[in-house]
């Protein structure tokens, strides 16, 4: 069963109407979700017709259907990737056994925690981005923002389905709480730190979707390996949607860089204030934004040594990125892994059991993936013939979680004193003045095919459409 049943109140490919109790529970949650969307979804957007992608089947042939939709009418639903027959657990102490179709009692608490933590990030990012629509640099970008928002909403549905279907009353309560926490709210914040930060401008949004949604990708990839089959199938389908979010980030930053370089060449200027005088974002400011978002995202992977991570792996709840493609024994009992430690104010490598370092393993995979994209941004600068290059800061830079928290490390990996940190912080991370400058550029562009001065046009339209169609129609 893979086609999605759109005749149902809640579109799904999980045969929801065969389980009346579950169906009723979710139908009771649905109006609460819609009310949350009404309050916390993109501001002032509810009447817009948006050119959106909706899945009509979880298989490649029916994956992307495009049409104009009012976002409150978007068909949020429950879609799992097709079940793989006879799938076996392929890592940890249960390796070789059949995957679980129900939650084993002994793993219930851990699985619930994993699902709730993942689920909490989805509405959080919608809340973080809810004002951005008012300053979109083009209709194309506005549409991309909204596509991300509705899909984060759908990812929330994906997690809520698991909570309702497999975790009984606790699950229903957790599902309600997902709609009650609010990003940045002091008395009831979202679970993870980075999801309580503001996304104040579009450069921050592009950096967020490039780096922070990439954390999402790696977490989802690790969960797609899970022995709990419904979680694996859910996250597998979510990954297909997540790819669009990273596309928005990578191409967004790339277009900002392209525009800056274009103006720098045209007017033959290099100094940041000259670039700003042209209404573009100087490459140095882009580097500072990069440093900030990158380091904050690295913290999302958790402590560098974690017995929870070891337990999650051993028990088969969460694998590594591309677990199946790795050639080792998938038990990792005798393996070590090098993590960074601080000794006498200096960074030194220290070998620890790999099982305890799995957060670090996933973080290092993320770093490799992130660096490759930054390399592609540099190609844009190189092509323009400019000497500037963006770099990814050292992984110990500006960390708040784990062994490296509180240690002062420069972007190049050099330990620095608190004084030097204080003196240089404004060169390394965006200052209030940087943010104010970027914010001053943010003005809404609503003419089809037109783009704000600080960003170049994309290379191609959505779904092969031309660039100048009204991707959003205001009503």
């Amino acid at each position: 069963m893979s086609a999605i049943d759109y005749s149902q109140k809640i579109p799904n490919n999980v045969n929801l109407n065969s389980d009346r109790v579950l169906q009723r529970a979710l139908e009771q949650w649905q109006p609460n979700f819609l009310s949350w969307w009404g309050d916390m979804g993109p501001e002032g957007s509810h009447q817009h017709d948006v050119y959106l992608r909706t899945a009509t089947s979880a298989e490649p042939s029916g994956w992307a259907h495009f049409d104009y939709v009012k976002m409150p009418d978007y068909r949020w639903g429950i879609f799992l990737s097709p079940q793989v027959q006879d799938r076996k657990i392929h890592f940890g102490e249960h390796m070789g056994e059949d995957v679980w179709q129900e939650v084993p009692g002994e793993h219930r608490a851990n699985l619930r925690r994993i699902i709730v933590t993942q689920g909490d990030t989805e509405p959080a990012s919608v809340e973080q981005q809810r004002h951005l629509g008012l300053t979109a640099p083009s209709l194309y970008d506005l549409r991309n923002l909204f596509q991300i928002n509705v899909e984060e909403g759908r990812h929330l549905w994906a997690m809520v389905y698991l909570l309702h279907r497999y975790f009984g009353r606790d699950g229903r309560e957790e599902a309600d709480a997902l709609l009650q926490r609010r990003s940045g709210q002091e008395d009831n914040p979202r679970i993870l730190g980075a999801f309580n930060e503001q996304t104040p401008d579009w450069l921050a949004f592009f950096m967020f979707t490039y780096f922070t949604d990439r954390d999402g990708k790696f977490q989802l990839c690790a969960l797609a390996e899970s022995s709990f089959d419904p979680l694996a199938r859910t996250t597998k389908f979510m990954l297909t949607e997540e790819a669009h979010h990273m596309f928005v980030g990578e191409s967004g930053v790339s277009r900002v860089i392209a525009r800056t370089c274009e103006l720098m060449k045209k007017h033959n200027v290099e100094a940041p204030d000259q670039v700003r005088a042209l209404g573009a974002i100087d490459l140095q400011t882009i580097q500072r934004y990069l440093n900030f978002h990158y380091s904050v995202t690295l913290d999302l992977f958790g402590a560098d040594q974690s017995s929870n991570a070891a337990t999650f792996y051993n028990t088969g709840l969460k694998g590594r990125y591309e677990e199946t493609k790795r050639g080792d024994d998938h038990l990792l009992k005798d393996r070590g892994y090098k993590i960074l430690n601080v000794v006498d104010g200096k960074l030194v490598e220290k070998e620890v059991p790999m099982l305890n370092a799995l957060n670090e393993v996933l973080r290092d995979d993320f770093i490799k993936d992130s660096e490759a994209g930054v390399g592609r941004w540099n190609k844009v600068i190189e092509k323009a013939g400019l000497p500037f290059r963006l770099t990814v800061p050292h992984k110990a830079f500006n960390r708040q979680i784990g062994t490296l928290s509180g240690v002062r490390i420069a972007p190049d990996g050099r330990p620095v004193s608190q004084e030097e940190w204080n003196a240089k912080a404004s060169e390394w991370m965006p200052t209030a003045a940087d943010r104010a400058y970027v914010a001053s550029l943010m003005g809404r562009v609503v003419e089809p095919g037109q783009y704000a001065n600080w960003i170049s046009a994309p290379l191609s339209g959505i779904n092969k459409q031309p660039l100048d169609i009204p991707y959003v129609r205001f009503n």
Binding site: P82, L239, S460
Partner: protein
């Protein structure tokens, strides 16, 4: 005859736009896509042009095609070294005829308004039957369509009914347009839409065998239903279907294609054909049946047809079908709106004839073809599994095997 180089429409990924998200590699049913730390690339020796990767790609970088001489296709090593795609090269001695990996892309630069046939790549075969001849595909594109002359237009459902289905015969005169049973063509309606853009090409399955509706003439036939309402039942006049159904003898029509390189008839006369269709999904079944009828001899494989329509009167070709010899083809008609009778669908009749279907399933010469409305696919697949289970056939094992051997073909819309 001068030798024309074998042209491949090579599938490539644009490294400038690609974000290396791995979605295509994850999606590809035949593992044709791979990557290194720099680029994602498509192996021209493996890619079969099934297009499963196209719509999940978030960037559009996946949808790039270059015509190359097959033996000089860009290798994986070359692709891995690219910073950008190479320019399209002129190919010396090449005619318009190109063969795509097998099924063609969702479009080269000149095909932006045409969508290829919907093949269910997840459940059905993406490779043709072993004995199918190699098809010609995409010999005519939007830039260089073939022009065919209408030599016949007959109504094949009863007059005065909701359903108005026509049998159209097109003649290509002296320009070659070789097709195989199971392939389809695109027709470009003349004029422009409300926005002043040319109309999209519409795809229709060919209803005649490879040697023509009228043997030895360069012609083919189509089965086209006049569209008078949309999926939601609202009245709408289908641009292309009305154009085609209203064609007069002597009219000229712009044709592109042919398309399709996996949903093809097994050429081995010993092959059993299990055909399941609804409505105009009967077109390829008619083509295959007619091919087998023309070549019929003792000892041929079996033909079994399950054909669904609302009523007898709505069933295209009802009369001619009934005239086929019973020992040539085993026909079962399912009517979902027959007065005074419970609704019957093709899958219901398949269950009724479970033992005969099971006998075909156990035979390695059996090829299954399903064509028609999307809604039938789940029911048919369930029925097949049910019948297999009932007869002790391991469907879990048989299904992927038939799929891999090009013996299970699904084309629904």
């Amino acid at each position: 005859m001068s030798a024309t180089p074998d042209i491949l429409k090579q599938h490539l990924i644009d490294p400038v736009i690609c974000i290396r998200c791995n979605t295509c590699e994850e999606t590809c049913p035949v593992d044709a896509i791979t990557h290194d730390s720099r680029n994602y690339v498509v192996d021209p020796d493996i890619c079969n042009g099934c297009n499963a990767c196209i719509s999940p790609c978030p960037t559009g970088s996946i949808d790039n095609w270059r015509n190359v001489v097959r033996v000089k296709a860009y290798s994986l090593d070359e692709q891995l070294g690219w910073d950008e795609l190479p320019q399209e090269q002129e190919i010396e001695g090449a005619e318009t005829a190109t063969t795509s990996p097998t099924g063609g892309g969702s479009g080269g630069a000149d095909e932006t308004t045409f969508t290829p046939p919907p093949v269910d790549a997840a459940r059905g075969s993406t490779v043709p039957p072993k004995s199918a001849p190699r098809p010609v595909v995409n010999s005519h594109t939007l830039k260089q369509p073939a022009v065919a002359t209408v030599t016949g237009n007959f109504r094949v459902t009863e007059l005065g009914r909701d359903y108005d289905t026509h049998h159209i015969v097109l003649d290509f005169g002296s320009s070659p347009f070789p097709v195989l049973e199971g392939q389809s063509i695109g027709i470009i309606p003349p004029g422009t839409d409300a926005h002043g853009r040319p109309h999209h090409a519409r795809q229709y399955s060919i209803a005649s065998p490879r040697d023509g509706e009228r043997p030895k003439y360069n012609n083919l036939s189509l089965t086209v239903k006049r569209v008078t309402s949309d999926h939601a039942g609202n009245p709408v006049r289908g641009v292309a279907s009305n154009y085609v159904c209203d064609l007069q003898k002597g009219d000229q029509v712009k044709v592109i294609g042919p398309f399709g390189s996996s949903f093809l008839m097994a050429d081995d006369p010993k092959a059993n054909l299990l055909m399941i269709c609804t409505g105009t999904g009967s077109a390829p079944m008619r083509a295959m049946t007619e091919r087998r009828r023309r070549l019929r001899k003792d000892g041929d494989g079996k033909l079994m047809l399950f054909f669904g329509a609302r009523t007898k009167e709505d069933l295209p070709y009802f009369g001619p079908l009934m005239n086929l010899p019973k020992d040539f083809i085993d026909i079962h008609l399912a009517f979902s709106r027959k007065e005074g009778q419970a609704k019957t669908y093709v899958q219901d009749l398949m269950r009724e004839r479970a033992s005969d279907v099971a006998a075909l399933l156990t035979n390695d010469a059996t090829h299954i073809y399903v064509c028609g409305l999307k809604g039938m696919e789940d029911g048919v697949m369930d029925a097949l599994r049910f019948i297999a289970d009932q007869h002790g056939i391991a469907w879990k094992e048989l299904h992927p095997r038939m799929k891999a051997e090009g013996r299970l073909h699904l084309e629904t819309y």
